[in-house]
Structure formats: structure tokens, C-alpha cells
């Protein structure tokens, strides 16, 4: 069979950021894949050097809209470490609350996207409708649904009232019920299993080799989670399980994220029950003494790591951000190889890329002797059709 190379490039109807994959096909199977990035490069690290620490808070938040709190918290942890300030316990607890609320919103978002990629549109609509509950909580607590900016240097910007606490708990209880339904669905529904089992295999040793992080790595049995390994904020006081699975495939990633939702609900309730008294912020001087530090954080997608160097002025000397998806991308190339073209959208979506991939795939058909152009939507429809022929049909659900 002859080989065809397809570019799967930067335009994608079902969300997010642009990236490009070059897939070498033999018939329907992928024999090689390379990842090309750079479509989202804005020049933020350079810009950060010209802005004050407080201005950078708002810039760093916009590295990603889905895990904005992760980035600001890691950044602020670095700044506060260099400034040698004692962040009040109440502020740390509120940051933890937001971190877990963010994890909930992100995993529900992913469940919906995964459902959409499989052709299970009802799941997409259900999870996003339920996600509105979390967004309501976030808006109530911080003033905005996305980009909550709850952090400030030295603590948090806003406190929580008892009414808000009650409002959050009520919504979380509703979500616990709904999530139990999704877990049942993931574990018992054969159509879901047919689409996700044995797809996008990533064995444990490859996961370690290629530096995979987050649920992608945990689904391959790698028991790594920064919240347990190097507890930050108040995670050392919270009771929660580190979720891993051992099937190394998309199904595993689905299970890991669904079970992490349950753990997050537990943590949110614990934080709200035991919210420590005290101030929500301390004053920190504008100029930060020279020094350098590195800190990491468990964002919904995996380990997020920031390096910060200060030089005694009110602007940083160097700020480096490595978001989790970059660490997972090298694993994607491995996961695609040997798989079917029909599985491509789901495998890429399964690492929960904080990127949108919209592009056209140009497929050269040697039999017809001409190039046909498939958009991501066409590929998605192709994948759903192919699976339908094998008996996997979500429309019956």
C-alpha cells in the first residue's frame, strides 16, 4: 500500500487552539506522526519582562482560558516565595477552592468534548449544561465566569460569605448526582467502551520516557500528581485519592477524569467546611529582591511549571511558563502511530489539549489520482460513520 502524508492543521470546529499534525498514512492506518506547533505563540514571556509583577498577573492568566487559575497561582507562588511573604491561610484555602472548581469545570468540559468527538452529542450537551452550575459558582465568588483573577500578590482579592458558601454547596450536590450518572455511563455503556478501549495506547514506560503528565500519564498507571507529591496550597490537609488506571488508553483517561471529579467535590466541601479565619491578603512591596525560584502545580491537564527570576526592580527578569499540554504532545505522536485515521480526533482530544486544532487535512487519493480535502468536521464524520458500520451507534442512546 502506498503512503500518503496528511497535514492536520490549525483550524478546528470543536474548540480551542491551533496545532498541526503531519500524519503518514498507509491505507487507513497511521504509520508515522509528527507534531508542529507555534500557531499560538504570542510572545508572552518577553512581554512579561516589560510589565510589573501585578500587570503580569493579568497577562499570565491569559496563557489559557480554561486553566487560568493554575497559571496565576503558580506565578503568584513564585512571586511570594521571592518576596518572602507569609500568605495567610485563608487566602491559600480560597485559592484551593478555586483550583478545585477549575478542575471540575475543565473535566466536565472535556467530557463534553470527548463525547462530541465520539459522536455522542447528547453527552456534550448534558455535561456543558451541568458545567453552567460550576460557572455560576465561579461568577458568584469572583465576578467572572472565566478568568476569575481571584489572586493578588499576597493573597486573594475577595472573601467568601456564608451565603456564597451555601450556594456553592447546593450546586456541588447537584453535580455529584449528575457525575455519578456520567461515571455509570462511562463504565457500563458498551458504545462508549467500543470507541475508547484500546485506542491511543500509551504504555507506562513510554509515558515516562516522553514526559507525559496529568490524567494522560495517570491512565497509564503512572502515579504522579503534584498535589500528592509536593503538596502546595492546603493540599496536605485535604483527604483525597490519587486516581490512576491501568488500561493505557482513552478509556482509562475517561475513567481517571470522571473519578477525579468525585475527589474534587469532596475537596471543595472539605475546604468550605473548614475555611480558616483570618485576613485574605498581606501587603507585599512593589520591588521584589533578586532571586530565582521554580514551582509546579497540578493543573487539570497535568503539571504546570513556572520559573521566575527577579532583579530587585518591580519587573521580572525572566519568566518561563511550561503548560502541561506541551509535555503531553510528544506522547500524542506515539499514540497516533499504528492507529486508525478514524481514531485521530478522539486520541488528540483525549490528552485534553489546551489547543484548538482547526485545519484541513488534504488527502491524496492514489486511486482517483486527485487530492481531496477533509476538514476536521469531515474527519470526525468519517470516524463516526466507520464506527457505525462496526455497530457503534450513539444515536440509539
Amino acid at each position: 500500500m502506498s503512503k500518503i502524508t496528511i497535514p492536520l492543521g490549525p483550524q478546528h470546529p470543536a474548540l480551542k487552539e491551533p496545532e498541526n499534525f503531519m500524519l503518514v498514512l498507509e491505507g487507513e492506518q497511521i504509520s508515522g506522526a509528527t507534531v508542529n506547533l507555534g500557531y499560538n505563540h504570542r510572545g508572552m514571556e518577553k512581554a512579561a519582562e516589560g510589565r510589573t509583577y501585578l500587570q503580569n498577573l493579568y497577562l499570565i492568566e491569559r496563557v489559557c482560558g480554561i486553566c487560568s487559575h493554575s497559571h496565576t497561582t503558580t506565578y503568584i507562588t513564585n512571586v511570594e516565595e521571592l518576596a518572602k511573604c507569609e500568605t495567610p491561610k485563608r487566602a491559600l484555602a480560597i485559592r484551593t477552592l478555586f483550583a478545585e472548581l477549575e478542575r471540575v469545570h475543565s473535566h466536565l468540559l472535556w467530557l463534553g468534548v470527548a463525547g462530541y468527538e465520539m459522536g455522542f452529542e447528547t453527552l456534550f450537551m448534558y455535561t456543558w449544561r451541568d458545567r453552567e452550575q460550576v460557572l455560576d459558582c465561579l461568577e458568584m465568588l469572583s465576578g467572572n465566569r472565566v478568568h476569575y483573577s481571584i489572586n493578588t500578590i499576597g493573597g486573594v482579592r475577595r472573601d467568601i460569605t456564608p451565603e456564597q458558601k451555601a450556594g456553592v454547596v447546593q450546586r456541588i450536590n447537584y453535580l455529584i448526582e449528575r457525575t455519578n450518572y456520567y461515571i455509570k455511563l462511562a463504565l457500563e455503556e458498551p458504545t462508549v467502551a467500543a470507541r475508547t478501549a484500546n485506542v491511543g495506547k500509551l504504555p507506562l514506560d513510554v509515558a515516562i520516557e516522553r514526559g507525559a503528565v496529568g490524567p494522560t500519564a495517570r491512565a497509564s498507571g503512572l502515579a504522579r500528581d503534584v498535589r500528592k507529591d509536593e503538596p502546595y496550597l492546603i493540599y496536605n490537609e485535604l483527604d483525597f485519592k490519587l486516581i490512576t488506571h491501568n488500561t493505557n488508553d482513552v478509556f482509562g483517561r475517561l475513567v481517571v477524569r470522571a473519578l477525579e471529579l468525585v475527589e474534587s467535590y469532596k475537596m471543595i466541601k472539605q475546604v468550605l467546611n473548614d475555611l480558616p479565619e483570618g485576613p485574605i491578603a498581606v501587603k507585599v512591596p512593589m520591588r521584589i529582591a533578586p532571586g530565582e525560584c521554580v514551582n509546579h502545580y497540578e493543573a487539570p491537564r497535568g503539571e504546570d511549571i513556572h520559573y521566575l527570576k527577579s532583579n530587585g526592580t518591580d519587573k521580572p527578569e525572566r519568566l518561563k511558563v511550561r503548560a502541561p499540554t506541551l509535555a503531553n504532545l510528544q506522547s500524542v505522536a506515539y499514540m497516533l502511530e499504528g492507529g486508525w485515521l478514524a481514531d485521530v480526533p478522539l486520541v488528540i482530544a483525549a490528552i485534553d489539549p489546551c489547543m484548538s486544532c482547526t485545519d484541513r487535512a488534504a488527502v491524496w487519493n492514489p486511486k482517483k489520482g486527485k487530492t481531496e480535502v477533509y476538514s476536521w468536521e469531515d474527519l470526525r464524520k468519517l470516524s463516526i460513520e466507520q464506527y457505525r458500520k462496526r455497530g457503534v451507534d450513539f444515536t440509539r442512546l
Binding site: K16, M44, L59, S356
Partner: protein, 147 residues
């Protein structure tokens, strides 16, 4: 106006088909755009459908500051859309560059410097209600112009 133009305008007003393009955004606006399609806001009841190819779209919805890597592709996509076509700049980034103004990776000045924009919707990120409002205002202005 000829009958065919009237038909085209009528179908645009009744059911604008949109193409969403992320030109280097942080995803905040993108998830709010997708949110507008979900049950709480449900723009599909207004006839707004998300299409996957520019050749079927009436409105190009662009989020994010335009990164240099995306600028050429954005123009190509715009040129592939059939007339009449409109462009909506979603978010502070599209309006003026937003928080990325002054970064070397983005085209300065926001979307207006790359494409002719019909509607600017501010916000960081934009609320789904604001997106619906923007589409409605655009439809109203098309209606007024066609009379």
C-alpha cells in the same frame, strides 16, 4: 434588489451560519462561543449553526489577537467565504489586541488591521449573552441596510 439577492439576505437574516476561527486566543472566548450553543443559551434556536468550512459560512467569528502565524491563514479563510459575508471580532483581543497588545507575536491593533470587521464585541472573555446581542445587532443592521 433582484429576487436572488432578496433570498440570500432573507436566509442570512433568518439563519446566519457561522464559522469559528481561533487566531491565537487563550480559549476563554472560544469556550464561551461554544457555550452559546449549549442548552443554557442555545443560539441554534435563532437559526445560528456552527459550520466547519468557510464555504458554507455567512459570518466569520474570530477570537483572539491575530498571531503572525495565523494571519495568512485567516485571510485565506476569509477569501474562501462567499458574499455576503461578515466578520465578528470577539473579545478585547480582537478589538484592540487586549492584554497582548505590544507582544511581538501578534499583529498590532487587533483584528481590524487584518480584516474588515462588522461587529466588535468587547469582554475578556465575552459573555454568551453579549455574543447573542452582537449577532442580533448585526442582523438588524443588515435588515436596515437592505430596506
Amino acid at each position: 434588489m433582484k429576487i436572488i439577492d432578496k433570498l440570500i439576505t432573507w436566509s442570512l437574516l433568518k439563519s446566519p451560519w457561522i464559522l469559528h476561527f481561533n487566531s491565537g486566543a487563550c480559549n476563554g472566548c472560544d469556550i464561551e462561543i461554544v457555550d452559546a450553543l449549549t442548552p443554557k443559551y442555545d443560539v441554534e434556536r435563532f437559526g445560528i449553526v456552527l459550520k466547519a468550512t468557510p464555504r458554507h459560512a455567512d459570518v466569520l467569528v474570530v477570537s483572539g489577537p491575530v498571531t503572525r502565524q495565523q494571519a495568512k491563514r485567516l485571510r485565506t479563510i476569509y477569501e474562501q467565504m462567499p458574499e455576503p459575508k461578515f466578520v465578528m471580532a470577539i473579545g478585547a483581543c480582537g478589538c484592540s489586541g487586549g492584554v497582548f497588545d505590544g507582544c511581538y507575536g501578534v499583529v498590532p491593533g487587533g483584528l481590524g488591521n487584518v480584516l474588515p470587521v462588522s461587529v466588535y464585541i468587547p469582554g475578556c472573555p465575552v459573555r454568551p449573552e453579549a455574543i447573542i446581542d452582537g449577532v442580533v445587532k448585526m442582523i438588524q443592521s443588515v435588515e436596515a441596510a437592505s430596506k
